[in-house]
């Protein structure tokens, strides 16, 4: 009886492990070896992880690097994956997502000669002040980009009520919400913001059903533009606004995408996307390692370096008037010059 259970479990775990860590095949003639460990959302979340994936894939093609990727099935498999890369003397190990911060802190300590990069996290030396020298911390000023899409949202809204659907209830996502609110209030001081978070665990990034419920509830409270920052769960909000259809060829409710350009996910219903150029940032790090110019420490990407931006393309150019765009561009310049200060919800 016990042996039967044991055999059964071994077979199952073999299948599970083979499916959790999918690695690309090895090539021999490459300049450097790059390993990337994704967040729980997975590389095809059409959003945050997808942007990182695009960046390293571009590097693989342009710079002839060997790329290995791991999609952890659960948070406990992040550390072994990262250590496996380090054991094999990879030239660069990239961690995607804030949740990998504490893990990379440990691993980067144990392998001081290997270069690491983390997206959305900051890694310090043991003293807690100086940035760690073998880790490039890629952080984005999401509040700045969110401010601009908040302006666009408030200009578009007829009801004066805006929605925000966040994924996991964490400070990083509060940063999106706060910037969005400030941007909206700069256009219309009376604007009302309805904020909801999908959950408090990492399952919150993969729960589109709940995301849709949140959006529907916000629409019920009068919201007509909803900004999502919730990975796969955000896609539920896209479904929600689509339900309300179009009148005279214009959507009744809008959604604002996040991280990747999501304007084409539901064309006509997506007002714009708050793009976070994770792709460019990881591409640049790979390039630096290749050219032996790797720089540890903080790399901050704001509006100034187009690290964050709002996306305009054929899918949404008819939705936003030139007048609004002009104002938004003006604010963009003012934020870059420091004339407008957007509150950073993560700053203490």
């Amino acid at each position: 009886m016990k042996t039967k259970i044991a055999i059964f479990l071994i077979c199952l775990s073999a299948i599970i492990f083979s499916s959790c860590a999918s690695q690309t095949e090895a090539r021999k003639d490459c300049n450097i070896k790059v390993g990337i460990v994704f967040d729980i959302g997975g590389k095809n979340d059409r959003s945050f992880n997808a942007a990182a994936w695009e960046g390293v894939q571009r590097a693989e093609k342009d710079l002839n690097v060997c790329l290995y990727d791991v999609e952890p099935g659960n948070p406990t498999s992040i550390e072994p994956a990262m250590r496996a890369f380090a054991e094999k003397n990879f030239d660069l190990i990239i961690g995607v997502g804030f949740a990998q911060g504490p893990i990379m802190q440990k691993v980067a300590n144990d392998y001081p000669n290997i270069n690491f990069a983390i997206v959305d996290g900051v890694i310090f030396e043991k003293d807690g002040k100086t940035p760690k020298q073998n880790v490039a911390s890629l952080v984005f000023r999401e509040h700045e980009g969110s401010y601009l899409v908040g302006m666009i949202a408030a200009s578009k809204s007829k009801t004066g009520v805006l929605g925000f659907v966040g994924g996991m209830d964490i400070p990083l996502i509060h940063r999106f919400a706060k910037g969005y609110e400030e941007g909206a209030k700069s256009v219309n001081p009376n604007v009302k913001l309805v904020t909801n978070y999908v959950g408090v665990t990492d399952a919150a990034w993969n729960n589109p059903g709940k995301g849709k419920e949140l959006a529907l509830s916000q629409i019920g409270q009068g919201a007509d533009v909803i900004f999502t920052a919730a990975g796969n769960s955000g896609l539920g909000a896209f479904d929600a606004v689509e339900q309300f259809g179009k009148t005279n060829d214009e959507a009744n409710k809008f959604v604002i995408g996040v991280d990747s350009n999501q304007n084409g996910v539901k064309p006509g219903f997506v007002l714009t996307s708050m793009v976070k150029r994770v792709d460019n940032s990881v591409y640049d790090v790979v390039k630096e390692v290749l050219n032996k110019q790797f720089n540890g420490g903080f790399h901050v990407f704001g509006l100034d370096k187009d690290g964050v931006a709002y996306s305009m393309d054929d899918n949404n150019k008819s939705l936003i008037s030139a007048e609004v765009l002009q104002k938004v561009e003006e604010s963009r310049r003012k934020i870059v010059s420091g004339e407008i200060k957007v509150t950073d919800a993560m700053a203490k």
Binding site: F8, G42, G73, E213, L216
Partner: protein, 301 residues
């Protein structure tokens, strides 16, 4: 408080309760026959995944649902073989199914769509229809299923045998009931229902499958089942209650008290779990499981 309690809240509660009702009813058949089914989460996932893939490929939600249900029944059959024929520990085997379904859909979608996290989005016209933009056909079906299950469980010979097998399989066997066959049937039926609940998540409530998208709903359904003392009508009430508390957290999160402070959402979110613990501790009446629950049956004993 008017901004919180509204008709929309009721609809929201029904939508959130729908997958729970399917899964809990599925669990009811299995557990009434004496087989613990903590694999509900995994069965929902396989239903959700298969339904999403097949709806996307065939562009028909009903065929997708059918395929999802078939996949659910096959998975349940595998589970049944493990726990009935090989008498594997039911909790361990159930957990194995859950873990398997966290990884397997990812592997398959990676191979088929080059997208390990999720399936492509399904266009709105190919999803299960919704009435008045708020009530899915699946919700209506779930509500209709309750009296049907009640009738099957209490008014048919099958239901009587099922309950007998769950309470005292040896006596049922002596009376001429084929215990093993009945348990197989009950577990497969639970796979069908749980998979239907999962399918609603991927092709009704949302328009794609993402990994682990059930987010613990299978376990909530199990809790609802225990709370409902393995009876169909209380199952409906328990699921609606869980759906309602979840729906309530949404407007409550942005609701401000007169002092300007917000209510911590975590507080409302724990209600279903706290309630389940209270019930299990025996405070709200005794929740008595079928007597033979979790005990494998073999004729020799």
């Amino acid at each position: 408080m008017n901004e919180i309690f509204s008709i929309a809240l009721i609809f929201s509660a029904i939508r959130l309760a729908t997958p729970l009702i399917f899964a809990a009813l599925g669990g009811m058949f299995s557990e009434r026959s004496g087989i613990i089914n903590i694999a509900l989460e995994g069965l929902m996932l396989v239903g959700a995944f298969t339904a999403a893939v097949m709806t996307y490929e065939l562009q028909n939600p009903y065929l997708g649902l059918l395929c999802g249900v078939i996949a659910g029944s096959i998975t349940a059959f595998v589970y049944a073989v493990a726990v009935i024929k090989f008498e594997a520990n039911q909790v361990v085997a159930g957990m194995a199914i859950n873990l398997l379904m966290l990884g397997l859909p990812q592997l398959i979608s990676g191979a088929v769509y080059d997208s390990s996290g999720s399936t492509p989005q399904i266009a709105k016209e190919f999803l299960l229809p919704e009435y008045f933009n708020s009530v899915s056909i699946a919700s209506v079906f779930a509500l209709l299923l309750i009296p049907v299950c009640w009738y099957v469980l209490y008014k048919t010979p099958f239901g009587l045998r099922l309950r007998a097998v769950g309470e005292n399989p040896a006596a049922a066997d002596a009376a001429g009931v084929n215990v093993v066959r009945l348990r197989y049937f009950a577990v497969i039926l639970s796979g069908v229902l749980a998979a239907a609940g999962g399918a609603y998540l991927s092709i009704g409530q949302s328009s794609l499958f993402t990994r682990g998208m059930t987010a613990g709903r299978g376990f909530i359904a199990l809790a609802a089942l225990i709370l409902a003392k393995w009876k169909p009508i209380p199952v409906l009430i328990a699921c609606l209650f869980f759906g309602f508390t979840e729906a309530l957290t949404i407007p409550l999160a942005s609701y401000r008290l007169s002092s300007g402070e917000t209510i911590p959402v975590q507080f409302v979110q724990i209600i279903p779990y706290v309630l389940t613990i209270i019930v299990l501790a025996g405070f709200i009446g005794l929740s008595r499981a079928p007597k033979a629950l979790g005990i494998p049956y073999s004729k020799e004993k």
